[in-house]
């Protein structure tokens, strides 16, 4: 007997007791639907997270601060914030700066491609010719070689000789008077940069501010990680820094932050080495990690539900096939009398179980895709409205096929029990069975 005949017969046998087969398939469907929808949501969230990570600066991107500064910041956040003072040099606030020897050591670490020490730069506000209002500006630096998820225009030019460029988020663009967000691309906006030293003595803040004209290179969709920040290119960043520290001794312009572009494969090893020289490094994944692990926990719970449904469905398969074996005892006897081997009888019943699993998976895939895509449409119009790049569910063919295969394998395992009973039947006894 050929494999194709076995599969065809298994399918035909399912039709002989339609309701019973349907109910068994329904039980499998509940499990497969849950698991497939879960995996689609998981894929959607991961995709969104990946986009956010890209937005923040890619997978090989590390942000560093001195361990003392990090711990001090963490103790402020989590603990009571009280730290004992000693005369030891490390206890002074000066230790919160990245020291020259740390920079030298860090640059020698294998796997670090680019090591940037960020000068501190801060601006007061941003405004445009279209509005009288001024808005607080939270600036980040565009990191060279990292692609950004831009909703309009392009990422700010990172060339050394580039003009001042900035990318703003869509909300800010609207506030600046560009109702149609795309219109702001290529326009010039004004940024007020304070000179710290002058501001100590100035009567009015405006007296110590320098106004810079900056070109908007593009806009960014709002995301949970960009936090409404805007991004400046290096020329702008350095210019702002120069204004900030105008007239001050060089030591005061010491950095407390550094970034590095490293080999993503070795990121953990590099983080450990940086820790040794007193630098606390955080990857974007570390920052995203919190949110993701919370989400993963929810999905694991749902997957457990799906798994339990599948176990129940497996018992259903066993039950259905035992009934089928009982009903078809004489048929099995005839098949064996006519020369069908035990192995083929076994295969034909397990094939039936696999077909049950197959149809349960197929319906699970179809229905979860309908439900998932509908939920997607509703979500983008309601609670995910502010995150246009967030697709709630993404259906990956490979994932769905592997889930279906796993379910079919589980069905096969469930089918082995009744199939064994069928294959062990004696043809004579089976033919005598009334």
């Amino acid at each position: 007997m050929k494999a194709l005949d076995i599969i065809r017969d298994a399918n035909a046998n399912l039709w002989r007791s339609k309701l019973r087969s349907f109910l068994t398939i329904l039980a499998i469907f509940v499990g497969s639907f849950t698991i497939i929808l879960n995996s689609a949501i998981n894929a959607g969230v991961n995709d969104f997270m990946d986009k956010q990570i890209e937005n923040m600066g890619g997978e090989g991107y590390l942000e560093m601060m001195p361990t003392e500064a990090y711990e001090s910041a963490m103790s402020m956040l989590g603990g009571n914030g009280v730290q004992e003072y000693t005369d030891d040099k490390d206890s002074t606030n000066a230790s919160a700066y990245i020291k020259d020897d740390q920079i030298e050591k860090a640059k020698k670490i294998d796997g670090i491609k680019v090591f940037n020490v960020l000068p501190n730069s801060s601006a007061d506000y941003i405004t445009s010719s279209k509005t009288d209002k001024r808005y607080r500006l939270n600036l980040n630096l565009v990191v060279e070689g990292i692609s950004f998820d831009m909703s309009n225009g392009v990422s700010p030019n990172t060339d050394k000789n580039a003009g001042y460029e900035i990318a703003v988020n869509e909300d800010l663009a609207k506030a600046l008077g560009y109702e149609n967000v795309a219109d702001i691309v290529g326009q010039t906006v004004k940024i007020a940069v304070p000179s710290t030293l002058k501001c100590y003595t100035a009567v009015k803040r405006s007296e110590c501010q320098t106004i810079l004209e900056v070109k908007v290179s593009g806009t960014q969709a709002p995301g949970i990680l960009s936090m409404g920040g805007s991004r400046a290119n290096l020329t702008l960043w350095n210019r702002i820094n120069a204004i900030n520290y105008e007239g001050m001794p060089k030591e005061t312009n010491r950095s407390y932050q550094a970034t590095a572009d490293v080999d993503p494969e070795r990121i953990n090893e590099i983080k450990a080495k940086l820790e040794e020289i007193g630098l606390k490094a955080m990857s974007v994944e570390d920052e995203v990690g919190m949110f993701q692990s919370f989400f993963d926990a929810i999905l694991i719970v749902f997957n457990i539900f799906g798994g339990i449904a599948l176990i129940a469905a497996s018992i259903g398969i066993i039950n259905t096939l035992f009934m089928s074996v009982q009903e078809r005892t004489r048929e099995i006897g005839l098949d064996k009398a006519l020369g069908m081997s035990d192995a083929k009888v076994f295969l034909s019943f397990t094939a039936e179980a696999v077909m049950l699993g197959f149809w349960g998976s197929v319906f699970g895939i179809i229905v979860s895709m309908i439900v998932g895509n509908a939920a997607n449409i509703i979500a983008t119009e309601t609670f995910l409205k502010d995150f246009p790049t967030f697709k709630l569910t993404i259906f990956e063919p490979l994932t769905m096929i592997s889930i279906a295969l796993v379910i079919m394998f589980i069905a096969f395992l469930a089918g082995t029990l009744p199939a064994r009973r069928a294959s062990k039947k004696n043809p004579i006894d089976a033919l005598r069975y009334e």
Binding site: G339, S341, D342, P427, L431
Partner: protein
């Protein structure tokens, strides 16, 4: 001597153990020649069905040997036995044993499907077999919609579709009225006569037994008489030979 198809020596079949021990066959020596039509006659519980099951290689004897075409079958692996049954034997049962919800054609195809023959080929051969039993016009019908006589003819078509050497028939007319029963008998004997298929019929119907070339009477697990009548057409024997077997 003509070619001996099936040959048994000292065949015993014992069911159960110790207290419940039951000897269904107590030592059967039998030679069946190719082309014979043999009736195995006896009351229920005599052991005639057990004998047929052993001859048809559906069961194994407790003691003794069965030779098919001179080859001892007891040493054959189950795979070989399955293939032998599939290729050399055809079966006709009292209560038909058909897949009632399947079509007539698919029922006839079954042995060929088990043999793994190509779809187009097995379709052609099944239609040929249905033509022999004059049911080719009912090929697409559901097996359940046929009358008893038609069902048994479908079973005969199924039995001959693989061009077997032997047809084992277990009370082939037991569930039929005498008129339809006679038609089935004619069909079986025609196959015996025209195609030279050896016929082994288990029955308690004396009339049917009388139509066979040879009657083997069984009681309490042993052969009581073994008659070869003048009607043995295929072997062409005229003389009546009676062998009395001592109890």
């Amino acid at each position: 001597m003509e070619s001996v198809l099936l040959s048994t020596r000292g065949l015993k079949k014992i069911y159960g153990r110790r207290d419940t021990k039951f000897e269904a066959l107590k030592g059967i020596d039998l030679d069946i020649e190719s082309g014979e039509s043999v009736a195995i006659v006896g009351k229920s519980g005599s052991g005639k069905s057990t004998l047929m099951h052993l001859l048809a290689l559906l069961d194994k004897p407790t003691v003794g040997s069965i030779k098919l075409n001179g080859k001892n079958t007891s040493k054959l692996k189950s795979r070989r036995l399955n293939r032998l049954r599939n290729r050399e034997f055809g079966f006709v049962f009292q209560s038909f044993f058909m897949n009632a919800n399947d079509t007539v054609l698919n029922n006839v195809i079954l042995p060929l499907k088990i043999a793994g023959i190509r779809r187009s080929e097995r379709r052609r051969r099944a239609m040929e077999a249905l033509k022999v039993v004059e049911l080719d016009d009912k090929a697409k019908n559901k097996a359940n919609d046929l009358s008893g006589g038609q069902k048994q003819r479908v079973c005969i078509a199924r039995a001959i579709v693989n061009n077997p050497k032997v047809i084992f028939a277990d009370e082939p007319t037991g569930n039929l009225d005498s008129a339809t029963g006679a038609k089935i008998e004619d069909l079986l004997f025609r196959l015996n006569r025209e195609k030279g298929i050896t016929l082994i019929i288990v029955t308690h119907d004396e009339e049917l037994a009388a139509k066979c070339g040879r009657q083997i009477r069984i009681a309490d697990g042993i052969i009581v008489t073994d008659d070869t009548t003048k009607k043995s057409i295929a072997s062409g024997k005229k003389a009546k030979k009676v062998t009395e077997v001592k109890k």
